[in-house]
Symmetry: D2
Subunit: 304 residues, 4 copies
Amino acid sequence: MKETIGFIGLGSMGLAMATNLVKAGYKVRAWNRTAARGEPLSRLGATLVSRPEDVAEPGGLILSSLADDTALEEVIGNNEGLLRRLGQGGVHLSMSTVAPATSRRLAGGHARHGVTYLAAPVLGRPDAAAAGKLWIFVSGPAAAYERVRPVLRVLGQGDFHLGEDAGAANVAKLACNFLIASTIEALAEALTMAEKNGLARTTMADLAAGTIFNCPAYRNYGRLIAEGRYEPALFKLSLGLKDIRLVLQTADSSRTPMPLASLVHDHFLAALAKGRGDWDWTALAAEVSEDAGLPAPRPREQAG
Amino acid sequence: MKETIGFIGLGSMGLAMATNLVKAGYKVRAWNRTAARGEPLSRLGATLVSRPEDVAEPGGLILSSLADDTALEEVIGNNEGLLRRLGQGGVHLSMSTVAPATSRRLAGGHARHGVTYLAAPVLGRPDAAAAGKLWIFVSGPAAAYERVRPVLRVLGQGDFHLGEDAGAANVAKLACNFLIASTIEALAEALTMAEKNGLARTTMADLAAGTIFNCPAYRNYGRLIAEGRYEPALFKLSLGLKDIRLVLQTADSSRTPMPLASLVHDHFLAALAKGRGDWDWTALAAEVSEDAGLPAPRPREQAG
Amino acid sequence: MKETIGFIGLGSMGLAMATNLVKAGYKVRAWNRTAARGEPLSRLGATLVSRPEDVAEPGGLILSSLADDTALEEVIGNNEGLLRRLGQGGVHLSMSTVAPATSRRLAGGHARHGVTYLAAPVLGRPDAAAAGKLWIFVSGPAAAYERVRPVLRVLGQGDFHLGEDAGAANVAKLACNFLIASTIEALAEALTMAEKNGLARTTMADLAAGTIFNCPAYRNYGRLIAEGRYEPALFKLSLGLKDIRLVLQTADSSRTPMPLASLVHDHFLAALAKGRGDWDWTALAAEVSEDAGLPAPRPREQAG
Amino acid sequence: MKETIGFIGLGSMGLAMATNLVKAGYKVRAWNRTAARGEPLSRLGATLVSRPEDVAEPGGLILSSLADDTALEEVIGNNEGLLRRLGQGGVHLSMSTVAPATSRRLAGGHARHGVTYLAAPVLGRPDAAAAGKLWIFVSGPAAAYERVRPVLRVLGQGDFHLGEDAGAANVAKLACNFLIASTIEALAEALTMAEKNGLARTTMADLAAGTIFNCPAYRNYGRLIAEGRYEPALFKLSLGLKDIRLVLQTADSSRTPMPLASLVHDHFLAALAKGRGDWDWTALAAEVSEDAGLPAPRPREQAG
């Protein structure tokens, strides 16, 4: 009989992960601020509760997938009731993309209730979450990591334990998102230069992804950027900006100049200022095209 | 019996390619400014000549692999004797990394002698050239491309014909080198942020290359940058700077702002100013580390 | 008989301003976290108190000069005792460089006690404060501004009322500090290019300041940067970085990309990473020089 | 009786300078590619000639004011007839904004004919040229400088001899234009941040120019940028871009990273890509405004 899992946060990522857990035979007790989001999960057999603290049981395991640092602190970090209930032996697998400093602060607070905090941010968008193909970076105590590995195997195609420092997995996750954002910027500039010199954007994208950049990031993003397909969003630009802010904040507090992160931030910010926050984050490329005098993309009608 | 090939320029790339052609059964007549570089080739059966024009025969095929735009213009573009000798039906496969504008100018000049100019820059370093594993971008008349395909198959693992515009292949090649340089910058910043936040550089490099960036560029460069192994150079920083200058020049003349190319240029230039022009171009990462207050790398002794 | 003024914060700026007020005949009641800093002021006749709230009297005027947003919020914004005591008709002239958002938040909190908050950040370093030569930007209710004008005339050579929005004066102050930091960056690059092309730095600085840039900012900073005199600090680099962080934070929350502010931030951060936080903020120029391969400046011995 | 002066190049700067020389009593013999431009000068008593070499007399003085390096090289540098005619004791006062390397190369070529080349680029727009209020930077042999000083006094409000290196004055001039372009960028960002935070652009511009930036550059440019008055151009954006290219070229060849020059270059290039090359170079500020989501400026009708 599998363990009961408390699940907090049923956004598009959280819902997909919770669904996979239910399907894998776990008993899931879930909470979401907007309860209606949980209905599909409920139909599969999960229990929905009305307060975050109600997902926890003594010494149990909870997973969280929340929007940002503030939500994580409010719903769990400052929720004495929840932490007390979880108590000695409890484990919190915290899958949101947050600042390393937030994880470290929460780890300390959890410990005062005997709860182990594991940072476990993921790489992959909702489609990867639904397919159980996430990559998961974990940091925190090794014993707790061993305990949650069967759960991680349901959620992802691979996981990496990055040591005891609660913040380490967040550092890795932020670095990866920064690498993706940098790839978007680089592809945007390369494809724009190609276009303005008579070489088709799609040809250029395929050349790169077909030779030395034959990997998911270049294949997926290259096509989107080449075709200027910025809607519907697979990952919203406003969320990309949020993550780059965390990168710059982490860089600043560790005295690490990151001029490329600054450049990407300024391009995301320009896109937001133009009302493109709900477009896909590859729409950063529209800033590069427009600066080259090419026409601004017009929002597409979403596929019916 | 295979065609005779005239080969101009026996630098580390040219020598490797010419060697493969000889081994594949082509009769090669080669010229290099410093004749001694051709001796190994001569021992394999190639003929060395003392003037560039002596490699050509009427209606024949020549390949060139020269240091830069200036060398290409001097040795071939302005070499009336060579072009006249090659004459009607002759083909020049020009494999150097040069500006698209240079290729276009040369294509025009060649045409006045009935010679077809094909731009054919390559992706890959000398080890890939020796292994016949280059990627080759070709542009120029389709008929000439068909004629040289058997030769390209000896030199590379794949080739792409990008249309009639002589400059197109150079645009693609410059865009790829820009993408690599951008990758170096991005990895440098990501690994430095990781290091300053307690996560080992090699761990971070392996995480990226083991998940969504699982491609040669990230695997190869990630390791070099993580370990700070900048000598011996696989591709010299001064040559990387030369290529980024061509990128910026092409961008400027086509009115394409490329702020990331400017950033990479400034980092390469700083490295050159510090006397690091002979290090590998991944040493751009040393600029990022030093700006974060980490110690400057010291040149390694080269392996004996 | 002049009004009694409560003065909070006796750093180098605050002490100079409070001293001028005493000399001008105001009765001053002052508080500083480290009481000993107030002794010179006490000898001139000011009263030192042991709690911030003790500087206030009903309907009176207080001035504050505190290190940053956090200090301002702790010592005054969240100090219910102080605000209640000041009460209806009281005015707080808040001279620290803080975020516009901080001023707006405090203005709201003050209003609940009947206290008027005036943002009044200043342009000028301690020597200008001592000479009563500050420039003062004020924002908040006009009636309160009229009341404090005689005080402003003691402290500065000119003041500007920028309207009712409490944050306006902070916006103006941050913009000015950004302009100065940009001037430092621009001069650093210009003088380094001059030096590397055979023209003496001091000659170049004097040419600019003697022609179209004949104003205090270029005259003062030009000389410091030309001579590489970064110690003793007239304004610490770590404080300059703090202000640029406020600029970027204000820019980010208002969706205003400021790439030059990002550049300056990254240079300040690099200087901090190298242990130069206590140097003058013109030491940003050392980053530019070092990137050009020129030797790093060595800390000077301070004049005896 | 005053010396005869040969004058080459009657653009808006050249015509204004030549006019002042005629009015000051000099005998002027002038050439311009488009002869009609010289008519107003002819009416004042100047002689117009049909070939550049006809302006010169043995051992005489010529002034040139040409569009760029290429024009200067073609019309004078490679004009053997002109240099031979000028011959031993001749002096060429070269007032165009060109690369230091161009001046050095021309100085060498001139010397072979016994002609002294003086670089003498100027600060100031056509209105300053007309008023005899230019600032003039001179470099080259001191004796020749002494000879031309009376002429310089007619043209400008001040001149500076920067030593024997022919390129030195060009270095200084390029550095000044870079400082102005940087000022435009800085003001653009500062005023945009102000505007987006509720503070009027003109208020902000006046605050800066009325306090620590009380100098011509900030007073003049601040107002133009605040009001978005980009037409008619006082100095065309395309010419500003030309000068920044010279700055970056000089920086590159001397291994001086200038990230702020790169940033300004990219903004000018974006403006050119959008068809704004004929606007005033302060229109760089429109790039900053648009990136902040503010509406693009529309070309004004020129004053009637």
